[in-house]
């Protein structure tokens, strides 16, 4: 049997539905005349499992999983890693430092642009964005513990 895209997708949703049930143990379902906090999540999780199974049953209509192109995965992983680092640092370093590093990381680290061009781009964009938000739109940006905005 060829493993198809919908076999994987359906199985993930069935597993997720079961996980919701496992995490909902302490949520009361209540009664029909007074439904509890657990009624809606469990009802929806049941439908999620049902539709997941339906997807698996009809998986033959979908493409084989081997045909899913993952060529963009390394690029996506680099973007996610740099963005995650920026989010982790955002409240500590503040807007100015973090976003400058984020832009430099993406243009130089991921896109392999010339370091000087990437640095000029990062600093220029951050300065313009600061002027736009903090000065023109009067929207305070995150200062961070170092006191920079």
């Amino acid at each position: 049997m060829t493993l198809r895209r919908d076999h994987i997708a359906g199985a993930i949703f069935v597993a997720f539905g079961l996980l919701v049930f496992a995490l909902s143990g302490d949520l009361p379902v209540g009664t029909l005349s007074f439904p509890g906090a657990g009624m809606m999540p469990k009802l929806v999780a049941s439908f999620l499992i049902l539709f997941g199974l339906l997807l698996i049953l009809r998986a033959n209509e979908s493409a084989p999983v081997a045909t899913v192109a993952w060529g963009d995965l390394p690029h996506a992983a680099r973007v996610v890693a740099i963005t995650a680092a920026a989010i982790a640092l955002y409240q500590t370093l503040g807007f100015l430092v973090t976003t400058a590093l984020l832009l430099f990381g993406l243009t130089f680290g991921t896109e392999r642009r010339h370091p000087l061009v990437a640095a000029a781009f990062s600093i220029g964009v951050v300065a313009l964005t600061y002027l736009l938000f903090a000065v023109a739109l009067k929207t305070p940006l995150e200062r961070g513990i170092l006191g920079f905005q």
Partner: protein, 508 residues
């Protein structure tokens, strides 16, 4: 107060210089967002949402809505000049718009698209003016069972209209509904799935989910090496179409306007579906169907009018019923709520300045867009020359600022990143993330209506069939499910499967 008096009140608000300025700003940003491939109106609206906190409600919603309908104008520019849809709703314009450009008729194609968009947009606003107030009055009769039935109908309609299959759409909607249950249960005070994270007590916000799925998810799926920009420079001296081209575009614009508005009232990606259907209708009605794909004027005029009318039509259920038909109207609802103005049946009577000011601003906004999109097209085209390698880092930065500034919560930004990764995965497995956002938005109202209905009836499900409006809405649900099952049994290729093929990049 009659419609004319109310509209005059609206114009007295919309023509104030500061409101005009924010309408212009929204239209300008919307056009740029529409021109740029990979950045949708949703990202534009979400990014600018924090900037509206200091404004009053009318200015905020006027600017944010301007981004939405402005993006429908801008999307055609990229489609015609680059054969890359600036917006998903401009996919069909790529086919004949680019063919016209290759024949040296880029200016005429842009002009027909802009004029068609203006006519359709204005038609949509006239219909909105006429339909929304009586619909809102009618909706005042709705109780919890009617709202629950209406939301079920919305989900079923979304699944029926979706290009992907029924189970896939409903799976996404269920996923969104589940995400919507996170946080404190309003009726009992139970914490649900918050894992001791205080920020999750308020639930998951629409903005981080929408920006993650549509903004970041799109970027992760688009490696910069694959973005090749070759722009056909429009000859502005040839901007005016010939008399024959005007004649050929007149009826497609009229049909596209009506078709687009009607589809815009329904949940789902109405602006995308309407342009596809309009293209199909025009090809079928044409005396020269063989010209489609080779630069047929009707292939530009119809879809471009339809997507604009649909984007205006989507405001009817949003303003009159408080129901979003898609992620964009969901974020606009969130914007209204942030300003303490709940959209829905009471909006027209309790906040007439906001409602009529918004409606009147759309008449003005459509005129502004016509003025912006024709003479300044050369300037907007230059935006396309920014290399994607510099463009997407900018978008990521704005995504972070946009999400963080809404509630100054870093947890929201993490949610955005997680949703971006999920959005990337969903695209790989052929899922449309729009129903997920819709599910998330309607989850609190749906759960509350369902539980209140059961409490009202002492646990008797028959309440949904004993009240005429709720029963009629559920009857419609059953009819749609039967239609979907019928097409499944016959295994026929209908317009939805053809739309799926076009969205997957195959020829129509």
């Amino acid at each position: 107060m009659g419609t004319v008096e109310s509209l005059l009140l609206g114009f007295s608000v919309a023509l104030q210089p500061d409101v005009l300025w924010y309408a212009f700003l929204g239209c300008l940003v919307g056009t740029i967002v529409g021109v740029l491939p990979g950045i949708g109106p949703l990202s534009g609206i979400s990014i600018l949402l924090p900037a509206t906190f200091g404004l009053d409600t009318t200015k905020s919603v006027v600017m944010l809505a301007g981004i939405y309908y402005g993006s429908q104008y801008g999307g055609s520019t990229t489609s015609i000049l680059m054969r890359i849809p600036g917006e998903a709703s401009s996919v069909m314009t790529c086919i004949d718009g680019y063919a016209m450009a290759q024949k040296g008729r880029a200016g005429a194609a842009l002009c027909i698209a802009a004029v068609g968009s203006w006519i359709a947009g204005t038609f949509g606003v006239i219909m909105l003016t006429l339909i929304a107030p009586p619909l809102a009055t009618f909706a005042l009769r709705f109780g919890p069972p009617e709202y629950a039935a209406l939301l079920v109908l919305g989900l079923i309609f979304l699944a029926y209209m979706s290009a992907t299959s029924l189970p896939r759409t409903l799976l996404m909607a269920c996923f969104g509904l589940l995400l919507g249950t996170i946080g404190i249960d309003n009726m009992t005070g139970h914490f649900r799935y918050s894992f001791d994270i205080a920020e999750l007590g308020d639930g998951i916000g629409i903005v981080p989910v929408a920006i993650g799925l549509f903004g970041l998810g799109e970027i992760l799926s688009t490696p910069s090496a694959t973005v090749v920009g070759k722009v056909i420079a429009p000859r502005l001296r040839e901007l005016l179409p010939s008399r024959d081209e005007w004649r050929q575009s007149a009826m497609p614009i009229a049909r596209g306007s009506v078709l687009g508005f009607l589809i815009g009232l329904t949940p789902g990606s109405a602006h995308i579906i309407s342009s596809f259907l309009s293209y199909g209708v025009e090809r079928r009605l044409s005396k020269h169907p063989e010209e489609f794909g080779k630069g047929a004027v009707a292939g530009v005029a119809g879809p471009e009018s339809a997507n604009n009318a649909a984007s205006t039509g989507a405001f009817v259920p949003m303003l009159a019923l408080g129901l979003p038909t898609g992620p964009i109207t969901a974020v606009l609802i969130a914007a209204l709520m942030i300003h303490g103005v709940p959209p829905g049946p009471t909006l027209v009577n309790e906040h007439p300045n906001v409602f009529w000011g918004f409606v009147a601003s759309m008449y003005v906004g459509n005129l502004m867009l016509l003025a912006l999109n024709l003479p300044l097209v050369g300037i907007f085209v230059n935006v396309l020359r920014i290399p994607y390698a510099y463009l997407y880092p900018l978008v990521i930065m704005f995504c972070i600022i946009g999400v963080y500034e809404v509630s100054h919560s870093i947890v929201d930004v993490w949610i955005m990143l997680i949703m971006g990764i999920i959005g990337y995965g969903l695209r790989k497995f052929g899922f449309d993330p729009a129903p997920l956002v819709l599910g998330l938005v309607i989850a609190p109202t749906f759960e509350m209506s369902l539980r209140q209905s059961l409490i009202m009836s002492n646990g008797n499900w028959a309440i949904f069939f004993q009240r005429p409006i709720a029963a009629a809405l559920l009857g419609l649900c059953a009819a749609l499910l039967a239609l979907a099952a019928l097409s499944l049994i016959r295994s026929r290729k209908d317009w939805r499967s053809k739309l799926a093929e076009v969205e997957a990049g195959e020829n129509p």
